[in-house]
């Protein structure tokens, strides 16, 4: 589904990704962990098409297509979804109106007819349950005045509405209390259907108790330096990153 080869990217002239290799197959859940500044959020931003990030090398193939050549909207229409680390507040645009526009744009790109208000409302009510969202939240302006937890729930709600084939969760657990974390994780798990793939970027093992990954990767200095199964996350939780850093730095200096 997603193949990343030797990806190099920089922001403001500073190289962050240094030849990253990575593959995601349908239905897999990959966790990406790593110390601060290792390039986790940069990876998410590059995949979603944020313009400030300059790709300086390598390629990203998504379902046979060159993802890096596509505009952010075309990536979303093709089935890539980024759950933002810091969801943006957009006063004056209601959540429902925003989502209806988005859902219908995605449908249009697939040659499907636009949903009318009634059909849209029905789907929305179904998906709201996934993240225990109330009706008032859909009528409010996008993320405006939402608590940290509400914002993250709203991201998962949008994911549920847009039904992507690849979802990237960028530190979705940051700033969440345990109840909000459970709600968000339940929402994500409900969307695991054996075909949809997830890249879960996180600092903490805690989230992975709820969203159990198939693979865990450690990102350091812009590369994946270690891969394993969910046990690797537990080991990182216990021992921190220093032992990996030392290992990597020793190899680099050798």
């Amino acid at each position: 589904m997603l193949t990343i080869k030797d990806l190099k990217a920089s922001v403001e002239e500073k190289q962050i990704l240094n030849g990253l290799n990575f593959e995601v197959k349908p239905g897999e859940v990959h966790a990406i962990m790593g110390p601060n500044g290792s390039g986790k959020s940069t990876l998410a931003s590059v995949l979603a098409g944020r313009e400030e990030y300059e790709v300086t090398g390598g390629e990203v193939i998504f379902n046979g297509e060159d993802l890096l050549e596509m505009s952010p909207e075309d990536r979303a229409r093709a089935g890539v979804f980024l759950a933002f680390q810091y969801p943006v507040e957009i006063p004056g645009v209601s959540n429902a109106n925003f989502l209806k526009t988005a859902v219908n744009e995605v449908r249009k790109s697939k040659g499907l007819e636009a949903l009318d208000s009634k059909q849209f409302l029905k789907i929305m009510q179904e998906k709201m349950k996934l993240v225990e969202m109330d009706k008032a939240m859909t009528q409010r302006s996008v993320n405006e005045g939402f608590s940290g937890g509400e914002k993250k729930r709203n991201e998962i709600f949008q994911m549920a509405m847009l039904e992507p084939s690849l979802a990237i969760l960028d530190e979705t657990d940051s700033g969440l209390d345990i109840d909000a974390l459970r709600i968000v994780a339940n929402g994500v798990n409900a969307l695991r259907d054996g075909k949809r793939s997830f890249i879960v970027i996180t600092h903490y093992q805690r989230l992975l108790d709820y969203i159990v990954p198939d693979f865990v990767h450690v990102l350091y200095k812009g590369r994946i330096v270690k891969s394993g199964t969910k046990e690797l996350a537990l080991e990182l939780e216990e021992k921190g990153y220093d032992w990996i850093k030392e290992e990597v730095d020793a190899t680099l200096n050798a």
């Binding site: 979603a48 098409g49 944020r50 313009e51 505009s71 952010p72 909207e73 990536r75 979303a76 229409r77 980024l82 933002f84 969801p87 943006v88 957009i90 006063p91 004056g92 645009v93 925003f98 989502l99 526009t101 988005a102 859902v103 744009e105 995605v106 790109s109 302006s141 949008q158 847009l162």
Partner: protein
């Protein structure tokens, strides 16, 4: 100085002005005022950009254009304006080239106590006698002077005491002139007597394909004690139009006025709003929205005069400026010595949608009372890149995302429109503009 003098001379020697002024008074009952206004205009002339109030808005070309007044003002029928109705049930008052067109209007079902018609038919109305030409100051406003000296017809809307009318009164200004350069004076009087409540909507549209149109509109709105007027101005003139609009509101005690100006047209637009809170406990809202494109100038000058205590005023002006267009906002608030316990607020927010767009914002507060709450704020920025990316990351194309954000920016002003049906129609028209 020479420029000013030249300009004055040019418009004054233009055949149009001479013909107007020398012709016999169009409304005999007000002949003296009309003559006086003509002199006042002669003294003032068309302002140049050296005039502080006209610094950013150059209208001097008006002085050198040979404008004609349309002679043919009775071509529209009801069917021609049907599509433009603000709501299905609205009372339609058509001004064709500034002249009341009874045939095209729909005044058959006016509620008791609401009087609408041409000045020529309403000279006996007590409110008309008392207020017509009495509120907009032609001594200091050159375009009010020009209007007063040159109007040939006016529409009067009078709401008697205690009459509440929920159905909007739609003043439909339609240009059909075929002169090469047409001058259209528009004159409106609205009086809401004690406890009366009305909704008025002005729209400006053009069926004309002439070279240039100069609309010079003056509205005088008078509110008696505890009266309520909700007023919407929708300015949708084409690019060949210079639209100068002077709107004066005189407010008695406990009265309430809400005015929304939507400047969505393509021509040069200058609005002068002049609100006088002349007695205690008045409430005035002034909201405005601009969508300016190409090389257009849209200029909002507002003046709110708190003459008496315990009044409230709130201004919200939002401007979307694109291409090489220019927006101007000048908001004056006067709080007189006696106007203690005044609450006066002003907010001006501007979005520049291109690198060449400009905005000139100038809040101007003059406060002579000591126990007041006044605030003003002006911000000018660009569309937020983060918001744009967020929308695009959800599959919304760049153009649609920009339109959505522009809508969001405008929403606050549109939400203020009190009449649901009017609001809906205005949103529909705005949608067309933001596509």
């Amino acid at each position: 100085m020479s420029t000013l003098q030249e300009t004055k001379n040019k418009i004054l020697t233009s055949t149009v002005f001479e013909n107007w002024v020398n012709a016999s008074p169009r409304v005999n009952a007000f002949a003296d005022t009309i003559k006086d206004a003509a002199q006042a205009f002669t003294a003032q002339g068309i302002p140049t950009t050296k005039h502080e109030e006209w610094k950013y808005t150059n209208v001097t070309k008006l002085a050198t254009t040979d404008f004609q007044i349309s002679a043919n003002n009775n071509t529209l029928k009801k069917v021609d304006v049907k599509e433009m109705k603000v709501t299905a049930d609205a009372v339609i008052v058509v001004l064709e080239n500034g002249v009341f067109n009874k045939e095209a209007s729909s005044l058959e079902a006016l509620p008791k106590g609401i009087h609408i018609g041409s000045i020529h038919d309403m000279l006996d109305n007590a409110a008309v006698k008392k207020h017509f030409l009495q509120h907009a100051d032609y001594k200091t406003e050159p375009f009010v002077a020009l209007n007063t000296a040159t109007f040939s017809d006016a529409v009067c809307i009078i709401a008697d005491a205690n009459v509440e009318m929920e159905t909007p009164i739609h003043l439909m200004m339609v240009n059909t002139c075929d002169e090469l350069s047409a001058y259209i004076p528009v004159r409106i009087l609205v009086v809401a007597d004690k406890n009366a409540s009305i909704h008025v909507v002005e729209t400006f549209e053009s069926f004309s394909h002439t070279n240039s149109i100069f609309v010079n509109a003056v509205s005088e709105v008078v509110l008696a004690e505890n009266a309520k007027v909700n007023y919407v101005k929708m300015q949708d003139d084409p690019g060949n139009t210079t639209h100068i609009n002077y709107h004066r509101v005189a407010m008695a005690r406990d009265s309430y006025q809400h005015l929304t100006t939507l400047s969505l047209g393509r021509g040069l637009i200058r609005n002068n709003l002049n609100i006088r809170l002349g007695d205690v406990n008045g409430t005035a809202y002034l909201n405005g929205l601009t969508v300016a494109r190409s090389k257009q100038t849209v200029d909002h000058h507002t003046a709110v005069d708190h003459a008496m205590p315990h009044c409230y005023s709130s201004e919200l002006y939002k401007n979307l400026i694109d291409d090489q267009a220019q927006g101007v906002f000048n908001g004056k608030i006067f709080v007189r010595k006696d106007a203690q316990k005044t609450n006066a607020f002003q907010s001006n927010k501007n979005l520049l949608l291109s690198d060449d767009a400009t905005m000139n914002a100038k809040p101007q507060l003059e406060i002579f009372a000591d126990d007041v709450k006044c605030s003003h704020g002006a911000t000018t920025g660009q569309l937020d890149d983060e918001s744009l990316f967020y929308l695009r990351a959800r599959g919304i194309g760049e153009d649609a995302a920009r339109a959505l954000l522009n809508h969001a920016f405008a929403a606050e002003v549109m939400e203020g429109i009190a009449h649901e049906g009017v609001k809906e129609k205005m949103l529909e028209l705005l949608n067309e503009k933001l596509k």
